[in-house]
Symmetry: C2
Subunit: 204 residues, 2 copies
DNA sequence: CGTCTTCCTGACCAATTGGTCAAACTCTTT
DNA sequence: AAAGAGTTTGACCAATTGGTCAGGAAGACG
């Protein structure tokens, strides 16, 4: 069966349940740590039925990962030359932080994949992702040359935005262990990141 | 056998080989992803011989993790009231970056553990680690109150230092995929982070 | 209603994996 | 060199896990 294009209502419902359960499982335990039994139990289906919809564990993982990738690399596209450069960058950081809050499972799955050496998406990183980052880095370089922002390495700026924002999803347990439960710290993080990038980018 | 206190030369050599191989394996594949066969092969020992030195896979992992924790939480201790506050924070970030360069395996193992929900070290996070962070946060708060640095959330400052520096170890593949191979980017990262934190902390 | 397709399951399988154990080997010590 | 401790291994085991398969149940449709 090809579950990438559901044709009936039952297929649609079940593939959605599988992918959601799989996102849960894979993001918590990694590819190897998650089992088909876990996923099928969480999806409310039998294991053979899982494999009726997807050819293999790998196939499930790849489809989940593919969905995550689309979602994950999207916000960067919106970093454009439209408004004030500093506001653009700050807004991008806020958008990424929002993603970490709204989609922690996706963030963790991505982190897991990269940690294991990105065996399935290395070509995407070295291809489309690199290309987009190069593009945005050139844009930022242009702002620096025009004197609109401080002289700053655009690649490491982007890396720092990725890391600081995703930290609140990937290291969630650590953050909560230190700050206590609840979600209030996201407000503080937003304010902190705004200050961090505004001060780093403001020409002096 | 209790491998935590080697008594003979053979024990010393073999436990060291096992722990090193285990650090390799666990940091690359996580606890579940790594197998005793992997570890024993890399250590040049038979599997039963591994289990002569360590009671179980879990015991190996715990000992490796314990070593990593000691190493990992150390640099923060050196953040003191000795010199100029801004230089102190910048130096801390540089130290952490240096750790990411020197000990990427340790960084990844730690990241893996936290990602999986820190099942084995949650008490350390909520206890000693939280305590030390609280302490350092109070120190930084004091600097702000004295007008020596900008008004900034000390907890999120520490989180951002952790995330930006560890990113170069944990997301190494992504960084290299975008910047190309080699280690030259660590110099650029050091310069970037210095600028980032200097500008964020300088009172305006 | 009957038929054809889609959906689902119990039973089963081979491979992997963490771990055991008795026996053998080697090194140290007296 | 003999005793005794420390070290190593091959053979084995039970549990888990990804995956298969033949057949049955349930929908869709003319």
């Amino acid at each position: 069966m090809d579950a990438s294009a559901p044709r009936t209502r039952i297929q649609e419902k079940n593939t959605a349940a599988i992918l959601d359960a799989a996102l849960d499982a894979f993001s918590q335990a990694g590819f190897r740590g998650a089992t088909l039994d876990d996923i099928s139990r969480a999806a409310g289906l039998s294991k053979p039925n899982l494999l009726y919809y997807f050819a293999s564990k790998e196939a499930i993982y790849v489809q989940v990962l593919s969905g995550v990738l689309d979602l994950w690399l999207d916000p960067l596209k919106e970093l454009t030359d439209d408004g004030d450069p500093i506001e653009e960058v700050v807004a991008y950081a806020q958008r990424k932080l929002e993603m970490a809050r709204e989609y922690p499972r996706e963030s963790r799955l991505f982190a897991n994949e990269i940690l294991q050496g990105a065996p399935r998406i290395l070509d995407i990183i070295e291809g489309p992702l690199k290309q987009m980052v190069d593009e945005k880095a050139a844009l930022i370089r242009g702002w620096t040359r025009a004197g609109r922002i401080a002289d700053i390495d655009p690649y490491h700026l982007i890396f720092s935005i990725w890391s600081t924002t995703q930290h609140y999803a990937d290291f969630d347990i650590q953050v909560r262990g230190i700050l206590g439960p609840g979600n209030g710290h996201f407000e503080d993080a937003a304010a902190f990141l705004e200050h961090l990038y505004r001060s780093a980018l403001t020409p002096r």
